[in-house]
Structure formats: C-alpha cells, structure tokens
Symmetry: C2
Subunit: 412 residues, 2 copies
C-alpha cells in the first residue's frame, strides 16, 4: 500500500485526555481517533491490526468446531424480560425506544438473543453440542470511559456460546476454550494469566478472566508465587503476603488488563428462557450453557501497551498492520521505477507500506517509528548500486544489504 | 465443514410474515432468523455469503486506491448539529441518551463522522484526494420493516467517502465508482441498472442508484427502450409510454431493488462542518465530497431473489457459502474413513459442506435443495467402487463419475 493513499494522520502531541502510554501512542500513530467520549473510529492502520486479531480468533475457533454467526446490536426488551435482566442491569445498559415506543437495548452481551436463536432447534440431544460465536460491536455506557480502547462505550468483541447436554461436556468446552484463548493471546504477542473471578452481571456457576499483567491494568489480581493459584482480588478477598490456599506460597498482588472472560452459565438462561431438550433417556432438561468473551479492541490496546516505548511502537509480527516499511530517502523521476519495482516484488510475499510521500526524510523516520512495523528498508544513496539499509526492528540491527538478499532476511 | 457442527436450522414452513420468495427461502434455508421486526441474526450460512460479498467489495475498492476504516455506530448530536441534520432527519433516525443525558443517534450514514475524522488532516491539496470506506452495521427505524433484509432496521452497508480538490476530480471518482459498483454486483451474480435519482436526506448535487430489476422491488424505475436513459420515477416524473428526453424512444416502467446509491455531495458537509483546504494557488476552499453506499445485506437478499425457485436456491459461485455439498446416503463404520478422506481431499481446494448428519437421505436432499450449493456429490451404493453421483446444479446435469475425476468437474 502506498502511504500517500493511506490515511495515517500521525500527531506530534497526544490528545490531552490520553493518560496511558498505549492511548497516547495509538492516537499519535494514527491508529484510532476519538469521535465522542469512549467512542472511537478505527483508522486504516488500527483496523488492519483488528482484522489480523480477528483472523487469528476465527482460525482458533473454527478448528475447534465452533461456527460463526452474527447477531444484531439492537435487542428487544421482551427477551431481556424473559431472562430477568431488563430490571437487573444498571445504567451501563444503553436503552432506547423505537418510533412506536417499544423498548430496545444495545447489546453489551448476547445470552438472551443466542438462546432465542437456538431454542427451537436444540430439541434433542442429537443436536448437541453446539458452539456458536460472533465478532461484533458491543455497547456499554461506562460511568467513566477512559484509557482509549481499554474502557470504551462502543467496542469490538468476540463472544462464543456453547450448548451442552451434560456438565461434563460443558467442562470439556471450558477446558478447550481456555487453551484456545491462551493460544490466541500468545499468537497476538500477549502473555496472559488465567484468574478466577465472580460471575457478575452475566451470572452462572463459575468464571475465569484472562489478564495481561500491566501497571495500567484496572483489575487487581492476587496470585501465588509458588503454585498456579490466581484470582481477581474482589473475588479472592486476599491481600499481599497472605498465605496461599492449599499451598506453602504467599499471595502477591499485581494489576492486570482483562482481555477475556469465560463463564460456566449452567442453566440460568435455558431455564428462564425455556431452552429445553430431550436427553438420551427421554427426559426434558434445560440445556447447559457456557459463554466466552474476548475483547478485540482491548487486545489491540494491550498489545500496544506491551510492545512500545513512549515514542515508538513495535508490532508483533502476527498482527502488524504491514510487515515491511519501505522508505525512499527521496523519490525522483530517476529512481521511481526501481523503487516501484522493489515495492511490487516484495508485495508478492509480504504486506508492504511504501512511504511515497513528498516529505523530508526526518518526518518519514519519525512517522515510521510511531507506526512501528517490524522490518524497515531504507532506500538511500547506495540504492542505485542495488544496496539498501535493512533493519530488523525486533533485534534493532541495521545493515547495508543487497536488494536480492531481502527475501532471506524478512522472516514471518 | 461438517454439517452436524454447523447450525443450519432449515424449516418446512416459512414464517408467517414472510411475503416475498427471497425472505421465505432465506428463513427456510437457515440463512437468517428474525430477532425483532426488521432486525435479524445472520446464521452461519447467511454470514458466509455476507463475508464473500464483503471480500469482493474490499478487492474492488482497495485496487482503486480506497482505504478501509471503521467508524462507530453511536454518533454524538453535536456533529449532527454542525451539519444541520439533527433537526432535519425524521423518525427514521434512532435517537438515544447516554447516562449523562447527552444525545446520540445510531448512524444511518456517516457524512458527519467522516468529515470530523479528516478535517484536521486535509489542510492542504497535497493530502487530496482521499477515499475512505467502511463496512459497518447501520440503523434506520423504518415505519414498516418488511421483506426480510430488504427493508430492515439494522443492516450491513459499505459506505465510501471521497475528498477532492476539484469538481473534475470528484467527477473522476464518481465515474470510477460507477464502474466498481457494476463490477461488484456482476461478480455477485447480479445485473444492475444505473438510475438517476434525487439526493434526498443525504443532500448534494447529483445522485444515482443501482437497481436490480425485480417484481418485488420497492422502487419504480422509468427507462427508455432505445437509449440508456433510466431514472427513479419520483425523480423523472415520467410515465409508461411517455416520449423519452433527447431520443426517439418511449418510457417503460419497471420495479427495482435498490442495492447501491452514489452521491455528488459537493461542499454541503465541508462548508457546514468547516472542512477547508489550501488549494494550489494558496486559497482556502471547502473540500469537495462524494459518498457511495452499497447495501450488503440487501445484495444478499437480491441475489437470493434472483437465483432461486420457490423451493430451492442456487448460489452464484463467487458468493456461495460452500462450493460443494458432499452427501453420503448413509455413513457407516465401514465407509466413514473413505468419506472423510474424500471430504478432506476436496477441502484442500474447495469449500466443502459434508452432510454427516444421522438423517434419512430424503431429508438430506431436501435440505440440500434449500441450501443451494452449486455442486453436489452424492456418495451412494457405487461409492465402494470409487464412483459418485455428481451434479452441476447450474446445468442440472447429474452423472456417475469416478472420484478421481471430480477435480476436473469442479470449476470455480
């Protein structure tokens, strides 16, 4: 892609309301732009990362037997009355009336809709298990939207719902998705800790959260320094230095960014919304449900928080908006053909951003640091001799190499 | 994909409110399910077609120098006050208040948001032209939602906005996008007519609509039987049999489904929202805008309307949810390995739906007709001898062929 055609409005200064590094950088690098408090536009570079994260999520879900669908944002009140949540959910639920004064909400989560979608179908154990997910825009009217995409009011999530005939099958899905989530976050360049938590407004029998450890995280995590015990502090009630349950260790406290949460819903929604099936012995039973959320816009934010300094970004290769940044020091009528030929050749194998703008090279380099692609190829005075300046930004090593050697150096 | 894992809730009877063929079929084939009036869930098969249409749209936009971004659904009132549309837009605009009583609307269109996104950036002619599009969920509170996805209240659209330094550049983009749209619809298996229309609530200087001729269309089109004149009847004011402007022909009248519309906005939004740039001679000018909408969910509906009979669908190859339907008459422990091996082999090149359900073959065939994949491979009594029943549903030809000949017959 030619940078002159792409819309990358880099900024010298971060917006005043940006408090944390990732928010400042995302605004400065032209990844996002605020449209209202807690409501953002994903600019082309930011959207490319979102799409890469989504592709990883789809792969890891599809190969585990999950199917994708897409539910609406607008949800009618009657479904939420069935589950009992219309009256329970607080002001985070954005409500509106249509032109005929019927009540709707903007979905923060889709347990009601998915249960209504499947309940006529799953009348027999033969139709189970069923695992359905969507990637969709969700809404939550946060009291204090802040930290950019961390606590937004309109955000992108993947939510999966499983329907099982037995607790054992639910447990198996829960285990499968724990592994899937850990894999997804690792592929996105994030290490996560699995943390026990309470079930909150979703309800159900058990819940775990996926946390990226970070000083700007909003959740407090208690974990053991000697075993794999980890729990949200609100849930555990433990403090730093407490003895750890069931082991010799001591409780540590840290902050975390919640990027995923999974719930054993059990029969809360199937009982209230009448999603029953006939089991193998001919009895009617409420179907046993699980739900599994993954914050996509928040994963983007956490990746920026982890993979950046104050003035530059460095994308993990699996989610980078482009692999290679090709930067001609100067484009002239003499070298333009050679530059375009190099660009076209690399574009066959890699995603390439060509800085073809009529800007000073200092501006180009500053923007390139902000944009943060893993490989940089600078076309300078030796380009006429077939040599380019190559930087693998993950090793920070720069050297003069032959154009023909580039394919051996660009490792994905 | 194994059909037992996919959620395809086919129905014997269409829902009572389904009036037109495409709506009936889409519900019966398990493509969509209504969640509220005019609000639908896209089930896995329907979503796969949507994704295929989206991929075609992205290709045809990206290759013409357009960049994708993603704007929010929630739009603050202040932007709509700037353009003057907050007071002008009728009850189709869904409005809501946040927890602090601030007004928002759910975007039916994004002229205000995109203008606010780019106006700080496009301060010089050097940043122009700029062409930005999104694929996004939109909202319009229709008085009478009907015909399934045809007149829905929550729907999927592609909207492109162009920013030019001159009328000539806008005209060039307008021409480019006319060609792009015609190509996109053709690739989706739809023939469209370009029809002059008025600019309505979007505003601007000129507008054209892309119409799929259909008896269930809601728009009335007047067109000439001898030249390429075509206009929305409301706009032309002409009737059947009228002489045609500027030629010897006669006006014909037909119905059409509007699947796209393009507008020369001119400076309506840039003047009211202060999106000015410095031109080549150093003068400040309002940027000249165009906008280009394409209804993705409606394109899906129009494709079903065009490519179906009352009881069966037949997908155009470019957007079909899967290429090949593999239907074993009966899966047994003896033939299961051979069936899975055939399925895995074909899956390397094609998207394949394997009907591995424990159902009678009559049920499988009926569902297969509804689902409407272009190629069908039935594994019957001759499968043990390496022979399968192959149907190219576009030619309706069925014959017994060797498994090894399948790759020569499956043409994409």
């Amino acid at each position: 892609m030619k940078q002159s055609q792409l819309f990358v409005p880099t900024l010298k200064e971060a917006p005043k309301d940006a408090e944390v590094k990732s928010h400042k950088l995302m605004a400065r690098a032209g990844l996002i732009k605020q449209t209202a408090a807690g409501i953002y536009t994903y600019l082309p570079l930011g959207l490319r990362v979102i799409k890469n994260i989504e592709a990883i999520i789809r792969e890891e879900h599809d190969q585990r037997g999950c199917s994708e669908l897409l539910m609406p944002a607008l949800q009618p009140r009657d479904l939420w009355e069935e589950s009992g949540r219309w009256g329970q959910y607080g002001p985070e639920l954005m409500r509106l009336k249509d032109r005929k004064e019927r009540d709707f909400c903007l979905g923060p989560t889709h347990e009601e809709v998915i249960t209504a979608v499947v309940r006529d179908y799953i009348q027999s154990y033969k139709k189970l298990p069923l695992a359905l997910y969507q990637i969709q825009t969700k809404f939550r009217d946060e009291m204090r939207p802040r930290f950019g995409l961390m606590r937004g009011r309109e955000f992108i999530m993947k939510d999966l719902y499983t329907f099982s005939e037995s607790r054992a099958d639910l447990d198996a899905w829960y285990q499968t998705m724990k592994i899937a989530y850990t894999t997804i976050f690792n592929r996105c360049g994030l290490e996560t800790k699995i943390v026990s938590s309470d079930t909150g407004q979703i309800g159900g029998d058990a819940a775990d959260e996926f946390m990226v450890m970070s000083e700007v995280g909003e959740d407090t995590i208690t974990y053991c320094d000697q075993c794999d015990y980890a729990a949200n502090q609100e849930f555990s009630g433990l403090s730093e230095g407490d003895p750890c349950p069931n082991c010799e260790g001591t409780i540590q406290v840290a902050k975390g960014i919640e990027v995923g949460n999974i719930f054993k819903l059990g029969t809360k929604y199937s009982e209230s919304m009448n999603a029953y099936f006939t089991d193998r012995s001919g009895h009617r039973q409420p179907v046993i449900m699980g739900c599994y959320g993954l914050g996509i816009s928040r994963t983007l934010m956490a990746a920026v928080e982890q993979h950046s300094t104050d003035d530059s970004l460095l994308w993990p290769k699996a989610i980078t908006p482009f692999h290679v940044h090709v930067i001609p020091v100067k484009m002239t009528p003499e070298n333009e053909d050679a530059i375009l030929s190099l660009y076209n050749n690399l574009s066959r194998t890699y995603t390439v951003l060509l800085d073809d703008r009529d800007e000073r090279v200092g501006v180009k380099f500053k923007d390139a640091d902000l944009i943060g692609l893993p490989y940089r190829v600078v076309l300078g005075k030796d380009f006429k001799d077939g040599l380019v300046e190559f930087t693998d930004r993950h090793t920070a090593e720069t050297r003069l190499v032959a154009v023909t050697d580039l394919p051996d150096l660009l490792l994905l």
